[in-house]
Amino acid sequence: MKKNKRSLLAVPYVVWMALFVVAPIIMVVVYAFSTASGGFTLDNFTRMGTYTVIFTRSFKLALIATAVCLLIGYPLSYIMAREGPRFQRVGMMLIMLPMWVNFLLRTYSWMSILEKNGLINQFFSAIGLFDLINAVFGTNIEYFHMIGTQGAVVLGMVYNYLPFMILPIYSVIVKLDNSLLEAARDLGANSTAVFRKVIFPLSLPGILSGVTMVFVPSVSTFAISRLLGGGTQMLLGDLIEQQFLGGAYNPHLGSAIALVMMLIVIVCMWVMNHFGEGEEQAVML
């Protein structure tokens, strides 16, 4: 009886998942394997070979962005978690603050920062950096080419998704039992060994969920690549968007691409979770 009542509480969640997660995925699968007239087809998948470049580029840029986020995010989370509550509050505030501004707006402002006549180039030109470089190296540059490059796209991803790396790592490290660290030190581990043998393995669940939360949106973004990549660094998100809102309306192909992308992401996550095997609180499910 009691058990029944408790499972009743899960009903909203199950309904929600069924309606907004499972049903859409089933629709994507149905679309991916059908033609406009409703027949079964595999054409949508065989056509995909053409897009290998876009697949590779998307996963490459997302991987780089994730790695950069980890490199910046881990030390930051570590330092923050080891500091006093005052520092933590301010730090947390500063990390969350940008997220109160709309994502597109933030990306749009990066666009005007990185432009040819953007803030960075104007600043460098005002302090005479370009003149200096030209004088020293005999070059003839008037600005740094930043917008429309892969670097700009990665920057956009790192900027937008860094909080998703910091927060889970921070919340794991902040909860680490101090007595474990003391015990390690008592047993003769130096600080490198404490970090390597105790802190790092214990923070792995945080890292795994941070990596997931950065990698997945990075691999499927389309706004960042369109605004900062200038439309020349087409990613999977752009490709899919084109099938739904672009010149050739082909939701079947779009669904097929989305499906393949989803499968690759799942495989990536699976491999990664095995990589962190032994950690009971692994991220996925």
Partner: protein, 377 residues
């Protein structure tokens, strides 16, 4: 084991929901209809109209004025492009009455039987539309449409960033301006400019010609000519001097000019696209009478003058076209710069070298899309 049972349960539940979801979707158009017709029924007095137009494409005070005059509540929505509008209509996510697509999209919609013939007796203002804009190729007998705006596509350039005035599409492929050129993010317009440059028709279905045009673009891409592919980002980039050359629409050039007086506009000598955006009523529209009233209202001379002044796109209304310079002088107390007026409303000799887009056959549309994605690889 318990987990497995739960999973199966969830799965079957999901499937059930999905199936019912589907059937609900299929019948939903009917209940909707009854709701709307009771809404628009004379006894309740609540008349509504669902309009979809482009963003920034109307003097918004006209909407309020129409609502006040007729008591019809206007649900005004916007779409980003013809293609986005088309997919909204196709996916059934929208229930518009009046839409305002461009010429080639109109012929596609007519071909697919998605529009309904208009009752021109309810649109007396159609008389005032300049005959140049009637019976055009997209609607040869003029059964479905009332023109809303028209204009040209051309090259916008920053006079301080180029060496000499631009007159030809060649500037769009010229290495000299590498990194300073913006490609329009729309396969039809982008391949179109290459087709003009090569001297082919922009409506060609010859695959060899289209591939040649693509090669031209693709070579320019590999030489680094283009800074990026843009649509509305073009405003920021051109106004702030972040790019020197772009392909865009005349009306938008005039908007940019207000923020950057160094910009110039040219319809290249090889010719270009001239377009008409026209209002039409969808086949499954629920508020047909209201839709006719709206179209008639927007076709009036007063509405066209207000719109021209606000969005800087030329009106197809003959009276409005003629009266606009005087209207401008009266409103702003200074004469209208006729050079600008001729950019907005291109004179006949410019239109003579321009070509309107026709709808392309399905195979050519697929080719366009494939090539366009190949360009982004």
């Amino acid at each position: 084991m318990k987990k497995l049972v739960a999973l199966t349960l969830a799965g079957s539940l999901a499937l059930g929901l999905f199936l019912t979801g589907c059937s609900v979707e299929q019948v939903s158009s009917e209940p909707n209809e009854t709701v709307s017709s009771s809404e628009s029924g004379a006894d309740t007095g609540d008349r509504v109209l669902n309009v979809c137009n482009w963003g920034e494409y109307i003097d918004e005070s006209l909407i309020t004025q129409f609502e006040e005059e007729t008591g019809i509540k206007v649900n005004y929505q916007t779409a980003e492009s013809n293609e986005a509008l088309y997919s909204l209509l196709k996916s059934g996510g929208a229930n518009y009455d009046v839409i305002c697509p461009s010429d080639y999209m109109i012929s596609q919609l007519i071909e697919e039987d998605m529009l309904q013939p208009l009752d021109y007796s309810k649109i007396p203002n159609f008389e005032k539309i300049d005959t140049r804009f009637k019976n055009l190729s997209y609607d040869p007998e003029n059964l479905y449409t009332v023109p809303y705006t028209w204009g040209t596509l051309g090259i916008i350039y920053n006079t301080t960033m180029v060496d000499e005035p631009i007159t030809s599409w060649s500037a769009m492929f010229d290495e000299q301006y590498a990194g300073d050129v913006l490609l329009i993010n729309n396969s039809r317009d982008a391949l179109g400019m290459a087709l003009y440059y090569l001297g082919y028709s922009v409506n060609t279905t010859d695959e060899a010609q289209i591939r040649e045009a693509f090669q031209l673009l693709s070579d320019a891409v590999s030489k680094g000519v283009y800074q990026g592919k843009v649509m509305d980002e073009v405003f920021q980039k051109m106004e702030q001097g972040n790019a020197a050359i772009a392909t865009y629409y005349a009306g938008d050039y005039l908007t940019m000019l207000e923020n950057n007086p160094d910009l110039a506009y040219v319809v290249p000598e090889e010719g270009s696209n001239w377009f008409v955006d026209a209002m039409c009523i969808l086949k499954d529209a629920q508020n047909v009478d209201e839709a006719h009233e709206w179209i008639n209202f927007l076709a009036s001379t007063e509405a066209n003058l207000a719109n021209m002044d606000y969005i800087w796109y030329a009106s197809p209304n003959a009276e409005a076209l003629e009266q606009y310079p005087a209207y401008y002088e009266e409103t702003y107390g200074e004469p209208l710069d006729m050079e600008l007026y001729e950019i907005m409303a291109a004179p006949q000799e410019v239109l003579d070298r321009c070509e309107a887009y026709l709808v392309l056959p399905e195979a050519t549309r697929t080719l366009y899309n494939d090539l366009w994605i190949e360009l982004g690889l």
